[in-house]
Symmetry: C2
Subunit: 443 residues, 2 copies
Amino acid sequence: MPALNTDLYELTMAAGYFMSGKANDIATFELSVRRLPDRRNFLIAAGLQQALEYLCELRFEQDELDYIRSLKQFANAPPEFFDYLDKLRFEGDVFAVPEGTPVFAGEPLLIVRAPLIQAQLIETYLLSTLAFQTTIASKAVRCVMAAKGRSIVEFGSRRAHSPGAGPLAGRAAYLAGCAGTSNAEAGMRFDIPVFGTAAHSWTMSFADEEESFRQLQKLLGEETVYLIDTYDTIEGVRLAARLGRPLWGVRLDSGDLAADGREVRRILDEAGLKNARIMATNDLNEKRIADLLAAGAPIDAFGVGTELATSADAPALSAVYKMVELQVGESRSYTAKYSPDKVTLPGAKQIYRYADYDLLTLYNECNQEFQGDPLLRPMLAKGVRLERYPSLSDLRRHAAKAVAALPPDLLSLDHAAAYQAEISERLQSLANSVRTSHQMVAS
Amino acid sequence: MPALNTDLYELTMAAGYFMSGKANDIATFELSVRRLPDRRNFLIAAGLQQALEYLCELRFEQDELDYIRSLKQFANAPPEFFDYLDKLRFEGDVFAVPEGTPVFAGEPLLIVRAPLIQAQLIETYLLSTLAFQTTIASKAVRCVMAAKGRSIVEFGSRRAHSPGAGPLAGRAAYLAGCAGTSNAEAGMRFDIPVFGTAAHSWTMSFADEEESFRQLQKLLGEETVYLIDTYDTIEGVRLAARLGRPLWGVRLDSGDLAADGREVRRILDEAGLKNARIMATNDLNEKRIADLLAAGAPIDAFGVGTELATSADAPALSAVYKMVELQVGESRSYTAKYSPDKVTLPGAKQIYRYADYDLLTLYNECNQEFQGDPLLRPMLAKGVRLERYPSLSDLRRHAAKAVAALPPDLLSLDHAAAYQAEISERLQSLANSVRTSHQMVAS
């Protein structure tokens, strides 16, 4: 695993910690999202499996060490520091919210407790892994809600942010309730149903549309989906209706999807193809899907590409990874940050979910009043997996159930009243005392 | 290289082409961007090197072939098709606009001429490679323009769309004129200057801010950048000023960057640290950079993270890969698509750049009037590299020069008048005749 795929300052801090005798301090970091994007009432936690795989396989290659050694920023670092990096493995404890769980602003998705250098080094990779898949899953669940039981297929690999992002977008979308993905690698790696039949270029590469349709049917049989808009949508569907069974249905990729959809439905029905389905694609998102269905468009499945694979209306989360505790020898201190608009709460936390609110407590806070299961669970102990990772299908079922249990106003596509985690008395009291002690230092 | 990292329909089409005897047809595809995003007056072509590496290394692994064979969509595909995939290598010709070149809507960034199955299969990977880096480079150049000669460093790996996207974002940003990146892997892989010193957690992990600053100085010497806002910005800069040389400067990451910047400058100057620089970070973008400089903020360098690594205001391009020619035996036909709002022009094209417009011609169109060098150049012949790929520094110099040569109104951050490529007479005449022939078929 590419340990060098991190921000340089994680490495300069590592060298600095090593030089100042802090390599064996034990730090606790929390990964959370500062604020929800305007158009998200909740997030779906995703990406944990890839994050844990990274942690279990973390190590520096020789060429990476040589590169670090060559940088001017490390001119003063002692040779022992590079030996330390060479032997570095992740030996920490990790607690996390299971993938598929709805989460809110300020709630830890993941807690790391590890030797300071290890805990710091992994920040960049953990953030880009968890924040990206969480971004996509949180967009996908909105498309799924908008479709009201019709299928959504993730079609966005070509517009994903680099080829590596495509399969991961497919994974996150499936976790959040999509029926599958167009990305074949995602299908193989993550055991996700894959969809796709033919593009416009298929139609264009035959002498005429009819020949292209006939050849497609030969391969796909009852999986055949005719893309009917290459030259003229209505001519296209008439041809599809004439060729008849076997077919899955037709795909519309341009024009007025509601009006054309109705006409296409009528032509298919008149040809006795009542079971032939209509799939729609073309720059769709949750809003357009909801509008199409509200307008009575007879569409049975939606392919959502660009908007889903980039979460185009909210392409980034304010995900942060902040130190909350530090143990130096036998002495444990709680840490927090007080920069304007960026205040963090000290101490490792736990989340309890109630019918209409969440309660943030200290991780080890014991209280008879805290009912139900805590959301954060142990995942790694001293760098080792505690149990077999659940299958993606199991996580997908968990997601569907956990989303359905949310207060109904959060399930609207429109902005709902802020759902802010409440804070336990002991956590608030710790935050106050840490802040006071820093103010004493500062004054 | 992961040949399976593609949309499933590329594979079903491959099987269909194989079964219908079209494996040896020669197709020409063009990759272009349909429309510029609202806030882009031009794009910077990027990602070609990674696209060519993919093409030269393309092959299916055994587990990928087994997976494809297992899918119901391939139940009717003959065994010979899988042998074909097993032996598949990319053997086509590729023409492309050099990385760093400004491009506009409808202009081909890349042309592929290859056996139909090969040309089709690579669509998804090529689009996600070229469109992503082009997206980031096109955002980065705006930040660079806004900074008016001050340095921009790409700091966005943690917010990039998956860990694989981070180093590529760093590459594209550097190509477009950024001074470097925080991503250490990008530094090693692409020979890009890397930047970064310490985070808030560094400050928080020491007993007090002074100790944290002293320890940082021990490692970094004159590269030291004090992050001064962990507890209180003004206290932080006073401490930095008291510790004095050696230092590079200080970093502000919260609050009112203009007002705090002025106060910080005053304190540094009074301490005789006139050469100490001020770097600003915190959700910056080209607009905020321009506003800060317009307000006279004494900031010397900007770190731009989320907005740059996700191109947050325009996170996707309408990049498409369309068939423009098809040769079946000795007969060549020109292809185009006439779906509403998605019309494409037939025929492989060339771009000529003049002082205030571009001219799109047919690739092999010869005309005394076409002056200057054409933008598209041969890159691969029968799957083999034609020359050593230029260094990223050379491409970066090319980008700076090519951007500076654009009409001045395009260099504004504000929306400029549309710059639409003109179309040569022969190209227009071909488009008309292809359209007419399809209308004859359709009517």
